[in-house]
Symmetry: D2
Subunit: 358 residues, 4 copies
């Protein structure tokens, strides 16, 4: 039973099938093949407008390239101080942005509020020593498993327009947020002011399928050059194109995310009912962050259940973790089996019961 992350399994059947089928015959290289162009059209339909799509090989590249289009080397990119781009990519954004800086702001549940962002922007000295803010980046789903509501995104978009910032969304778990909100891709992005999106599919059924979706022409202009010089344009482009074709067919991507979120919901409900267990944050997508007794942590591990403890996250005091407790992260995916969820819950409840007995 492995709840460590949603990138530990391979591709889901339809995606793998699509790779197989696309393998035969000669096609133009470097993404100029017919499959990739078909998929680009599909993206337009999904986002209900003309957009520019750039296929890349990792979420790191998607984020870093997207930001490099929005932030000049002397500029500032505002994000949450626990953001993936600031903490988990070995400085990729700084590399692609040529030294531009990430300004990490605090915020509950790894989410930013429009008010905090606006206050920060107003506080910046108007002087040449101060790098000028050029972009805002948010993670949808956030690093704490929370989902920005449409109103929250809309307020952040307004702050961006007011201060002349480009608005970037890190959508490594884009569709998990989408089904959680029950809205359309357009509603969750450009209709709220999002300018550029890292659209991840690898975690939700792809094998290696990431894309940058650009809603503003000026930001898309040079991304093909930037992508080429970053070594991100693979020669047999059909590999990525095909995955997206399989991913979108018959709403397969939606179904995968629905399942992952449902499994997370079951885990969350079951665990939070146990005495001595509480959630650090409500479960809104496919990640559960329970604070559990260390004894239960041992019981789960003893049962061969894999997951990560999440102590590095700096929690607001109110939600602090006691010495006898530990904060853990459980991630579900399209591949999570219901029986595994049930078994984890059994192990947990019996573990708690045993604890109470002693």
């Amino acid at each position: 039973m492995n709840f460590a992350s949603d990138n530990i399994v391979g591709a889901s059947a339809p995606v793998l099938q699509a790779i197989m089928q696309a393998n035969a015959g000669a096609m133009a290289a470097y993404g100029n093949d017919e499959i990739s162009s078909r998929v680009r059209t599909r993206f337009n339909e999904i986002f209900e407008r003309e957009i520019s799509v750039f296929f890349v090989t990792t979420g790191t590249a998607a984020n870093a390239l997207a930001l490099s289009a929005a932030v000049p080397p002397y500029g500032l990119c505002v994000c949450h101080r626990e953001a993936h781009i600031i903490d988990d990519e070995c400085g990729a954004p700084e590399f692609f942005m040529h030294g531009a800086k990430l300004a990490g702001l605090p915020g509950v549940g790894a989410k930013l509020t429009a008010m905090d962002v606006a206050a920060y922007l107003r506080s910046l000295p108007k002087a040449v020593k101060q790098m000028p803010p050029k972009a805002l980046s948010v993670s949808q789903v956030s690093e704490c498993g929370l989902v920005y509501g449409l109103d929250e995104l809309s307020s952040l978009g307004a702050v961006c327009r007011e201060h002349g910032l480009s608005f970037h969304m890190d959508g490594a778990r884009f569709v998990n947020a989408l089904v959680s909100l029950g809205c359309t891709p357009a509603e969750m992005t450009w209709k709220q002011g999002v300018d550029i999106l890292s659209f991840g599919a690898t975690k939700n059924g792809g094998l290696m399928a990431e894309a940058i979706v650009v809603f503003r022409k000026d930001l898309a202009e040079a991304l093909d050059y930037r992508s080429k010089r970053a070594g991100q344009i693979i020669s047999k482009g059909r590999l990525i194109g095909a995955q997206f074709e399989g991913y979108f067919a018959d709403n397969h991507w939606i179904a995968n995310a629905r399942h992952a979120n449902r499994m997370a919901g079951r885990l969350s409900d079951g665990l939070s009912q146990l005495p001595g267990v509480r959630l650090a944050w409500p479960t809104q997508a496919n990640e559960v962050f329970p604070i559990i007794p260390k004894s239960l942590d041992q019981a789960l591990k003893a049962a061969g259940i894999h997951y990560h403890s999440w102590t590095e996250l700096s929690l607001p005091e109110a939600e602090g973790v006691a010495d006898h407790e530990v904060l853990i992260r459980l991630v579900t995916s399209w591949a999570t089996r219901e029986e595994d969820v049930n078994q984890l819950l059994e192990v947990a409840s019996s573990g708690v019961a045993r604890q109470a007995a002693e």
Copy 2:
């Protein structure tokens, strides 16, 4: 019939099969899976020593990352002025090397001689205004389809050691050169002084399988960090690991290259016997560069045969192309069918005959 390049077809059967088989089950992400570690051991066997291997997604990334490990931002990398790294990667090396410069030297057949490189290095002013040379990069196979002999590589390696340069080999068609020379991977690389190698498999049966092979510990030290910040460490690393496993199994890679070279040899022999047709350079691997009458060029295209003209290459005067002629490039691969080669030769000979009749 498509002779445009060796990256226009998908993966060969064993490689595709390996991807399928590797898809099932949970594995550690980011290249820490068992398949990738098995393949690393396989690389050690193939190169007959402990080496460091880094998997990347494109040849561009392999070259640019390799050079970034060898050349500091203020340094110079010597290469041929027709080299792929200088002409065809939209400045990727300069991006990854943070502004370090490529110094392009002339040389027949897109090959460098140890004498020319040494003369160039001696000619550089010893002054702070002059970026200090730090690496030499050669393409094996060269951009004109030629293969460096072991003695040539050994002489270049000696120049590198004498002047304190790191020696990089762009091996996008590594194995095509290998079977052409009939030597071992070790003999074609570190035994001649090569320090770091871009090892390409995509053109010879892979779907997306590239690796950086490092023979010097100091050059390998930081490549994992550099690779991560370049967005080159894919999350489901098994995808690349599996391809290499299928690629190496039963000497499949050798067989693919032998076939490609043999097809090129047949094309080369057939064409060079036609009146009015000559070769710009001898055919030594899987690329043929005939200089043909424009009338024949039209005949071939009329027959629906795809290939690129190669006029951009600056040829030494002696080999100049006349106004009624055109230099073309024909590339064969593991997937080239013998009947296609025969048919091309028939179209060509009848085209030439018709021409003579008029």
Copy 3:
């Protein structure tokens, strides 16, 4: 009366004189002149050993170039989160380090403790996603006017050695700290483990005289190339060389700093005795940080006294500034006249008295 900063006046007489005298005659360009080489020898004497010295035109360049020698593009540089390099240089360090990141730690009085630095280094995940720490940078004098003691520097040096970090000191006010401690330049630097130093003279009598002093050969190796490509090697190098010659002659630099610190001491003593006035931090060099009633602030400004308020600094709660108060910074220099100090104190005390009367 201007206490805004110590860079608002020109050069002190001996420095200006030296520029005049050095102007005549032909000399080698780019710092290869006899004056510059004489001064290099002088630096060796002052630091009691062979060192490498690189002349630059700004403190920003000194810091950024020094760090670029110590931190690779994928590395981390630890500093205080109020450090000048992180807050006041428009991203110069990130530019010169090619995207390497500054990690800002908290600490009272803008000073770092060895314990905090060590704890931070231990807390970093050992993973490729984490940029590896490569350098520590401290400001001597700190942004709050405090001076690191030799024991504190020695402990920080030990942490650097233990974790393989290079130790950088931002010495924009080097000599103000030096006379405050009453030690030798060697004792305040390499004898405590400092590897590379930004040695500022502009604020203490120079017109434009900054230097990078390197105590470790490996860090000095490429700095001439880095300096040239950064546009920092001026063609008439005598301009900077001459200033340092005048600066060091007859211990002029020491005398200037003694005067500046003494003036700050008088200001500090006088102000802190006034009711309703207290110091945010003790005065240890040539900067005074009093927290004063807003009414007094208005009185001082009304009297035409120039200085900056310092509200942007995030003070530890204990030292918080009340709503009716304001934190200001008063900087003295070699040019500060005793009568100006006295007059400021008179204005202040009468202002406070008037306030009490109302």
Copy 4:
């Protein structure tokens, strides 16, 4: 007697005087002083329009910063293959442009023709692998001492507009070209389509006075941030401002250049009349490039005359240097004394005479 370069002497009297006078009193730092703002107005008058001026400390920084405003990191900058920016600045442009590339074209006398530039631009493949051209840079005076005529500049400007390139002029010897053409600063720059100019004063009487003059608002927008992060904004900005004030006063800059050019003309006339001596290029500004017998070279050096041989320049065949000859460069300046010129000519003629006698 030193004809090595025009940067081997200090500042001319009026410039030195201006530095002295500007030293007294308190002024705003970082170029916000009254002197610097007066000089900015003066620049507007000199160029007959509103322009943006940025003061920097070296010609290297002026060129590299100017290009960084015109060329994105993925772009190409066209220049002559002997250009100072490509050969003599240790990669500063590549550093400031974040890896953008310099494309060096051939051309007689280190000058580019509009026809050659246009032909090169048309020849570039329209593909993502090809860095897109974004700027053209010319040196006025060229590296061979030649001056572009207004018609030549105008044609180059037209090519830039047609292909969407920014037009940069390296004016390290701006005024030497200006007096040679006898035109106005406006006529030699923006009226011919120049967008951004490196305006050098150091070689013609300054001590350290360089400026970037920008004629297009969009190119000026971020240059203050770029300049700050490059460590080019000196804290006591009056130092540079004052030099320019002294430089422009009473047309002092024009007088200095007239003298330098006149001295070069005398040298040129005298030498070219000697048997066995010829000029590699006509003398149009303050540099003379005679091809002389090696025996004469020895005689001159024996007489203690300092200058550089110029063999590294790749001359067009027609002008080739024979084995018994050497190409040398003689540079005159505002400080060159007529008697030194006369003495050099005497030494030369007697040397040639002695040679003939033997």
